[in-house]
Amino acid sequence: MSRFEAKLKGRLGNFLVDVSFTIPHTGITALFGPSGCGKTTILRCIAGLTQLEGNLVVDGKSWQDSSNFLPTHRRPIGYVFQDANLFPHLSVRKNLEYGLKRIQIPRKNQLWEEITEMLGLEALLDREPSKLSGGEKQRVAIGRALLSAPEIILMDEPLSALDRFSRMEILPYLQRLHLDLKVPIVYVSHDLHEVEQLADWMILLERGHVIAQGSISSLLANPQLPLVGLPEAAVILEGGMQFFDSTYCLSLIAVNGGFLTLSQDLGVIGSRHRLRILAREVGIAKSWRDGDASFLNVLSAIIMDIQPFGEQQATVFLRLGKKAHGDALLARITRKSCDVLQLKKGDEVKALIKSVGLVSIPTVNQDG
């Protein structure tokens, strides 16, 4: 299934990079970690812009091993830089054509039409890069990379140089890429929220080492990983639209192990959605009778583990469903509540969810 295998080793500043990871066939893989953990270096190594010792194998073809190193311009990559890096002396059109002119594929016109339409670039074509806003520049940069018909797309924090409004402008395009492209995307970021909105897979890095890799939902809820210790710890759930209650404008979504209610219209029945539930938005009750409180989302769950979080709080690891067969959920409650309720591993409880965030747009199945 994985088409991209990497093993890299070398010095980076004052620590050693030693990583080994695979990137799946489709979807967005986030290279996630704190600033300076080596994620950009690793991305640059995949592109051949930086050289560390190691092996890179793509679809059985070697890009790098002990005896050969394919230079950047021979690698079918699309690289989106943090600052767009548009060519200042060329118009938007010429920037977009730069890669397209240098590849040999049939039906270039069709690709041009598709990409410029998808990213809404038609209106920008005759402008100069210096006259674009930050968000527009990044859109052109993404288009330019896609027009070189890459087999893998590498994005180095493409949103981090943008203000909040430009970010909101770009995100939907990235999510659309995710749906429309059959090409894997490697996405470097240190912003967990961004990763939650985009990524399917995650490679977690710390000081030049991979500490975990896997699907984003499994990593977010893994008690062994530092992610659950972040103030904004959350889980990602995927669910299908079941029913729309037009009286109250509520959507019912089926997730693995229960149903969630969202106070917005999510459209077509059967459409898939990505939901985010913050640990601090989840409370726990030992017993529950319908009609006793205002919570809309009350789900049965089993306690899998309890970890202290700071002085006053604890993180409770839950699995939805009475047999713990469903999705994972995190709850952050006070240690006092934990003791008063005498919570322990294996208990069957009710998870009270104050709010469910919708992660923008419908998603495809992860293996789609």
Binding site: T72, R74, F81, N85, P88, H89, I103, A145, S148
Partner: protein, 230 residues
């Protein structure tokens, strides 16, 4: 007019312009690759080579002219080989002036172009490489166009510096009308022979020329900068 600007002066002017054009062309052909290498290379030797290129900035032209005269003289190894290949000896010939001028003006061309190349930074070059452009392709499609202001400044400085050259030419070329007698040497001659009026014509003309060159370069650069900032 014909009395003020006689055939001798006209000949010196033509020779000077010819020398300046040939020299500038050679300087660009030589200087751009040198500037690119100096801007991009990470090896230590580049500072040594850079220093050699910059030496004419500091050395008296007579020193340069003296060593070039020795080096190019048909008695020496290089000189005899060169005069065999080119059919005649280099000293006291137009060819000799060209060699001297190229070496003498090289830093004036290399420095601004190197600065321009360095100012491009890695960003655009890496983006081009990621879009399948080979290093050669990157140089011509990205680096050269982006270094345009430096190339303009370099050519103008190289040209103007060659027009105003005196010491190296006198040492290496002497004073042969039509072959090595350029404007600066002609002015010197007129002053020596007390023909001050003729010296005035040429000297004032040179001032006017220098003024026009510097002004127009500044204006072109300003225009380009404005265009790229728009």
């Amino acid at each position: 007019m014909s009395e003020l600007f006689d055939a001798e002066m006209w000949e010196a002017t033509k020779l000077t312009l010819r020398l300046a054009f040939v020299t500038t062309l050679l300087l660009l052909i030589l200087g751009i690759p040198i500037a690119w290498w100096l801007a991009r290379s990470k090896s230590f030797i580049k500072e040594i080579i850079g220093t050699f290129v910059a030496l004419p900035l500091v050395l008296p032209p007579t020193v340069l002219g003296f060593y070039l005269l020795l080096l190019l003289s048909p008695q020496g190894n290089l000189g005899s080989w060169l005069s065999e290949v080119f059919g005649s000896p280099f000293p006291f010939s137009f060819k000799g002036l060209v060699v001297g001028s190229v070496i003498y003006s090289l830093p004036f061309v290399v420095q601004p172009i190197r600065n321009s190349f360095e100012a491009i930074g890695d960003h655009s070059l890496e983006a081009a490489a990621s879009l399948r452009a080979s290093p050669f392709d990157v140089f011509f499609s990205i680096a050269l166009p982006l270094a345009r202001p430096g190339i303009l400044t370099g050519s103008v400085l190289g040209f103007a510096h060659t027009v105003g050259e005196f010491g190296v030419i006198l040492m290496l070329g002497g004073n042969i009308p039509g072959e090595t007698k350029v404007l600066s040497v002609a002015i010197y001659d007129y002053v020596e022979s007390l023909q001050w009026e003729k010296a005035h014509v040429l000297a004032a003309g040179m001032i006017g020329f220098a003024f026009c060159v510097i002004l127009s370069t500044t204006l072109i650069e300003r225009h380009w900068r404005k265009k790229s900032n728009e």
